[in-house]
Amino acid sequence: MEVSDLLLDRALAIGARSVAVVGTGKNVGKTVVMRAIYRAAIARGMQVGLTSIGRDGEANDFVDAVAKPRLRLAAGTLVAGALGALPRSPALEWCEATEVQSASGALCIVRVRTESELELVGAPTASGLRGSVEALFAHGAEFVAIDGAIDRIAALREEDAVIVSCGAAASASIEAIAGEVRALVALLALPRGDRSIDAVRIEGALTPMRAAELIASGEKRPIVVRDATRVTLRGRALLGALERLSLRVEHPLRPIAVTVNSVGRAGCVEPKALLQAVHAAVKLPTFDLFAASAA
């Protein structure tokens, strides 16, 4: 079975109708992962909708001008994209111009009529993204794939299956890549708080300073925040806090898999070692789409 099918199956197995791909950095393979899942869903005859958090999918990365994977879409694919970034030709079927605005114009729902490549510029805000996903479902999408931006988890919801991408583009060594992705997965996988248990509920954000205070006071009760976006600790600081505090969320997310990309701009790492190290760190199914391997 293809790696792309395995990823799609994992999403469908938990009952998700949408999958979001987030990454530890730029050029770690998010678009490649989304493209693979998209193709697997198309191959199964599913009506697929695509969107992204902000700008993605253009030929060159808008931020660092590195060549990006192309996004060639099959006829019938639904897209939620910014008006100014959608091509004039080949003509698209225009379904709806939504109220959601982006720097490239209103978010529109279109259906691809002729197989073509296009730039995916989605809603820049969390609410805009959710509105886009709902609109895609309303226009007939059975499954929606969301191309995420770097660490943009605010737009994710419990109903999404989340795939985390990491790779050599974001960190220099296998250890560093594994450490980073472990922290991000730990953040995304924070469990739901038990309402019947006495807990410290934090209305705003759990900042490093607040976490340090709680650790210093020997807090043993669960610390409950609204969702993972309310935890501002990252990397080692987050992992350290998780060892000492029992962090919980009201709205958990569902990370289902991790993908690795051993190829980076500056250098490469050994693909098999990366796959194994990341799998050991995150304890989630881990895939290498480039090498067509899994751990």
Binding site: R88, A91, W94, E96
Partner: protein, 538 residues
């Protein structure tokens, strides 16, 4: 002299103009561009104001609420075609998103016309040109509301797309053959991705043909499919036909744009009619909700309001299950409203001001019956909400004096002065004197003045009609520490807010001591105050 504004900011806040404008807010850009909601009618325009308010009343009567709400929702969903019309007018082409907007506009406007066909008071928002627009775009309709630049728009477009499809199929076939060949050679699945890794340890011999190495790493090779000459030629052929399709599509768009431009004037008239409908339905919905009726606009100084209401408060009361008690007041020249604290004197003033504002906006008014002259100016004199909120640099009295000065500087016949406990912060004797003098002066200028006060004898001294809030029907009992909301609710139950005219200028209690006790002021203080009042009376 420059004519004064109908309302200054303090007066507008005091009588609820912002609330009214929010109620009448249009739902569409067409309504927002319509000037009707901002229009004010001044003396000399009585007929126009009456015509408009009668028309709104007829719309409110002629259409049921559900129809009006559906119509408003339909207007709200209409895309704004003004930018599209502007572009095609200067010879620009259409894009497909704009064609979708035009199609939805035509659908929506025609649906609206059907919905409102029973009402003669609203302008026609359809017409042959709109049908023409819809027919023109109909070929592109997909499902109920989507748009696609379909082959049927143009035979040449159809032909170019067929040629492109054939070229694409041939390229895909050739590329697929290469991908499957490489996948088979590498022992992968059905096909390889655009970029893929080949582990050196798994490679026996050379890479299979048709594979290009992008990057060499110590343990693996990053590769992609290398198109052969035949496939590259097919790719170029496909791209050539793609360019021809793009040109054909642009020709169709340009032709559509020219046809839309030819309908430009008619579509602009439809857009204008939609703005009028939006504004009129907002007004009619509001009028219906608050049972409004057109006021009778006269030219004399008589003001008569029967069962008048102040909707901003009515809405709040009804939201918590309460009911607004309407007030009936009629006077010519000057009138006084007295009564207990919290009995609704200020609300009575706001009611009069609000009703006159509605009439000046060409709206039916929230009253059973109303008769008065259109006011050239309405002024609230008293501590207004604006001063109360921001804390004016001037003292309370100085602020009121300045407002009195400013109002009299532009006071003319038929102006409405609403004087709410004017000069309450100075001595009662001087406050009395200023109020009586102001009432005389305003009447001499022909203004209609109504003042709320606790001072005795003002009506007699000013020769004004005297109205009074009936007041408390017994004092409710409150337990110590009781929630203020409950206390106020109990108080409201015991308060008779009805206003009656007093034939003589007799003094009535303000119930202030009873209210102070009820609101939790120390019992000892209240009892001492009662003793002092009793002593003064004796």
């Amino acid at each position: 002299m420059i004519a004064p504004e109908l309302l200054d900011r303090t007066s507008a806040l005091a009588i609820g103009e912002d609330w009214l404008l929010a109620q009448l807010a249009p739902r569409s850009p067409y309504g927002a561009r319509d000037g009707r909601i901002r229009r004010r009618f001044f003396p000399g325009e009585e007929r126009e104001a009456s015509d408009q308010s009668n028309r709104i009343a007829r719309i409110a009567e002629g259409l049921d609420r559900e129809t009006m709400e559906r119509a408003h929702a339909t207007i709200a969903r209409l895309p704004d075609i003004a930018p599209v019309l502007a572009r095609v007018t200067v010879g620009d082409s259409l894009d497909d998103a704009q064609s979708l907007a035009l199609l939805r506009f035509a659908d929506g406007a025609l649906e609206l016309q059907r919905m409102l066909s029973s009402c003669d008071e609203l302008p026609d928002c359809a017409g042959d040109e709109l049908e023409t627009l819809r027919d023109m775009l109909e070929r592109g309709r997909v499902g109920s509301h989507a748009f696609y630049l379909h082959d049927s728009f143009d035979e040449e477009l159809r032909a170019e797309r067929e040629r492109f499809d054939e070229a694409r199929a041939r390229f895909e076939s050739a590329r697929g053959r290469l991908e499957r060949g490489v996948a088979a050679a590498l022992g992968r699945g059905a096909r390889v991705d655009e970029e893929f890794i080949v582990m050196r340890e798994a490679l026996v011999g050379a890479l299979p043909p048709g594979v290009r190495v992008i990057r060499e790493a110590p343990t693996y090779l990053l590769c992609e499919i290398d198109l052969d000459e035949e496939t590259r030629a097919l790719l170029e052929r496909r791209e050539d036909f793609a360019r021809k399709v793009a040109l054909a599509e642009e020709r169709v768009r340009a032709a559509l744009a020219r046809r839309v431009a030819a309908l430009g004037d008619a579509l602009a008239r439809v857009a204008e009619a939609l703005g009028e409908i939006d504004a009129a339905i907002a007004a009619a919905l509001w009028s219906r909700r608050f049972s409004c009726r057109p006021a009778e606009l006269v030219h004399d100084g008589e003001v008569e309001v029967v069962e008048g209401r102040w909707p901003p408060l009515q809405e709040r009361l009804e939201a918590v299950g309460g009911a607004f008690v309407p007030s009936t007041i009629a006077w010519n020249g000057a009138a006084i409203v007295t009564g207990p604290n919290m009995g609704g004197k200020s609300v009575a003033l706001r009611t009069i001001g609000f009703i006159m504002l509605c009439a000046a906006m060409g709206l039916p008014v929230p009253a059973q019956r109303a008769r008065f002259a259109l006011p050239p100016m309405i002024r609230w004199l008293g501590i207004g909400p604006e001063e109360e909120r921001r804390g004016d640099l001037l003292s309370s009295f100085a602020g009121e004096a300045v407002r009195l000065r400013d109002a009299f500087a532009v006071l003319s016949p038929r102006c409405l002065l609403l004087i709410d406990e004017f000069a309450r912060t100075t001595t009662p004797r001087e406050s009395f004197a200023i109020l009586v003098a102001s009432l005389h002066a305003a009447r001499e200028r022909g203004a209609a003045t109504i003042a709320a006060t606790h001072l005795s004898g003002v009506a007699a001294a000013a020769g004004a009609r005297h109205f009074a809030v009936r007041g408390l029907r017994g004092i409710p009992t409150a337990r110590s520490g009781e929630d203020i909301g409950r206390v106020l609710a109990a108080l409201a139950d015991c308060m008779d807010y009805r206003i009656e005219e007093l034939s003589e200028d007799r003094h009535r209690s303000s119930d202030a001591l009873a209210l102070a006790g009820l609101l939790g002021v120390d019992e000892e203080i209240v009892e001492r105050a009662r003793a002092i009042v009793k002593g003064l009376a004796e």
